[in-house]
Amino acid sequence: MSPKTLYDKIWDAHVAHEAEDGTCLLYIDRHLVHEVTSPQAFEGLRMANRTVRAPDKTIAVPDHNVPTTGDRNAVIENEESRIQVEALDRNAKDFGLIYYPVNDVRQGIVHIVGPEQGWTLPGMTVVCGDSHTATHGAFGALAHGIGTSEVEHVLATQTLIQKKSKNMKVEITGKLRPGVTAKDITLSVIGATGTAGGTGYVIEYCGEAIRDLSMEGRMTVCNMAIEGGARAGLIAPDETTFDYVKGRAHAPKGAQWEAAMDWWKTLYSDDDAQWDKVITIKGEDIAPVVTWGTSPEDVLPIDAVVPAPETFNGGKAEAARRAIEYMGLTPGQKLSDIEIDTVFIGSCTNGRIEDLRAAAAILKGKKIKDGLRAMVVPGSGLVRAQAEEEGLARIFQDAGFEWRLAGCSMCLAMNPDQLSEGERCASTSNRNFEGRQGYKGRTHLVSPAMAAAAAVTGRLTDVREMM
């Protein structure tokens, strides 16, 4: 048999039909649904008198525009948000989907809930009408974001029309230095490849530094594969993966667990597999990083300075000029001199328990800078409960952070958690686009530990100075 990559193996196991031109119908094992990209898809089903083919493989949860304040269970003030959430309530009921409504403790960001509940398992195909579906690739599942028309297609047929992508290997060798986290890895990879570097590829992350990561860290890495242009990121499952999955509510049990493990253990790229592109980065070369611009590729180590637009080639020079103006920065300015107004800890990139632990470790016994606004939005109700149990919530609150309910919140600011014009935020989310966190808001992407350090000093800060 010819050698295969992990991507090849999962792909081959899910092709339900292949046309002569290579267009495939890929069978979908898990379909995750949220309130923003699904209403039009359900409407389409109703209009054509169609049903959901596999409601037991379709998991819905509202997350994008739910408020994160305690009063949300009574009523969602914003009318349009309320209508979307109510539409999801109704669609989940009418079509018989698995559902975690707003007031369920298991509610949270869809990409945190899926793994937490054991819906995401190695070797699966997972889709969601959301680009950060790549997160689930951390389990060795082929997971990608789809548009609303495709959401409707999967609801109706449990398949997706797909052509195979190319294989790209991103290897992070050796060990990370202290203060460097999964977020720094994934941002550094994007810095090296650009936001279009992965277009047309599925990325497999490997190497010692990746192996050493926890599942939380691996999810952070895969989460941002899309920011590098790749539709999916993958990490081969291993003992770390199996330990995380075992015992979760919807993970297989008993004999089924054994059978699943037999297959899961075959899910790795063969030694002599062919790669269309290979990138290698030394773990010890990665520093704690921040973004200075309005694209995730605008990333530099915290001890660098704001670059001059002229140093870029082609259309990027103009984009950099525009970004620096939008961000209100000056070329040559030290990144660690940039003062911030706000800190946001949360999102599907960094809203898991380990992220909160990392931030709390820096904050313990400290206060946030006077006048700063800081909030923690746990990725799910269960993460929140665990953080309260471990005493992390106390640490955040004592330091001056707001302690919120679960949701996407200020990652995309569709709910009331928004930046105001010119407000500058150190954020653990994944996109620093213009207006992403609020109209004319300014976003610097950082790791949770770096966000905590910035909260204490009131400026972008090298976390290594606080360790």
């Binding site: 119908l25 039009q40 493989k57 579906t133 279009a196 699943a260 694209s295």
Partner: protein, 201 residues
């Protein structure tokens, strides 16, 4: 879906690279539960000030480009989120064709589902089209999907590649779900096999 006809229309130049989906349609407009009516909010934050007045410098606000049907854009157009609201807004505005050196995958895919044609060309050719588009309303370009060509107002013609299946679906205005339902026997058979092989799924 409507069949994709030949397009002869005005092309608007947007040389910026990495135009993301948040720029194309800011999230406040994602709260709709409909597909239609998003065209007025296309590029909202670049197109209007906070009071809703048009920014006269923005390309689609200039008299020459208000009826544009073609966009000539910088590299990596449509990066960012999976929101299909981006192609919905473009289509609702009247855009039928977008040309760039590269597109983000999900956006590229979403275009076809909405009867729009994204064309990928090498930098030199995009540069020629960009120059031509900058001439304004008299510069009508021709796009012929059947022949896979795009021509400048001066008749310079470039050929583009497109996946044959996607081309066929656009030309015929085919609905993907309808097509897939023709293969329901294969899906049933796959599902039965998978239930044996991977019963835990």
């Amino acid at each position: 879906m409507n069949k994709f006809e030949k397009v002869s229309g005005i092309a608007a130049p947007m040389p910026l690279v990495n135009i993301d989906t948040d720029m194309i349609i800011p999230k406040i407009f994602l709260k709709t539960i409909k597909r239609s009516g998003l065209g007025v909010n296309l590029f909202d934050e670049m197109r209007y000030d906070r009071q809703g007045n048009e920014n006269p410098d923005f390309v689609l606000n200039k008299p020459a480009y208000r009826e544009a049907e073609i966009l000539i854009a910088g590299d990596n157009f449509g990066c960012g989120s999976s929101r299909e609201h981006a192609p919905w807004a473009l289509a609702d505005f009247g855009i039928k064709v977008i040309v760039s050196t590269s597109f983000a995958d999900i956006f590229y895919n979403n275009c076809f589902k909405n009867g729009m044609l994204p064309i990928i060309l090498p930098q030199e050719q995009v540069d020629v089209l960009m120059k031509d588009a900058e001439k304004g309303a008299n510069a009508r370009m021709e796009v012929d999907l059947e022949k896979q060509t795009i021509s400048t107002s001066e008749g310079e013609t470039f050929s583009f590649d497109i996946d044959p299946f996607r081309k066929h679906c656009l030309l015929e205005g085919l609905d993907d779900i309808g097509l897939t339902f023709e293969k329901v026997a294969e899906i049933d058979a796959f599902e039965a096999r998978a239930a044996q092989a991977r019963p835990w799924v």
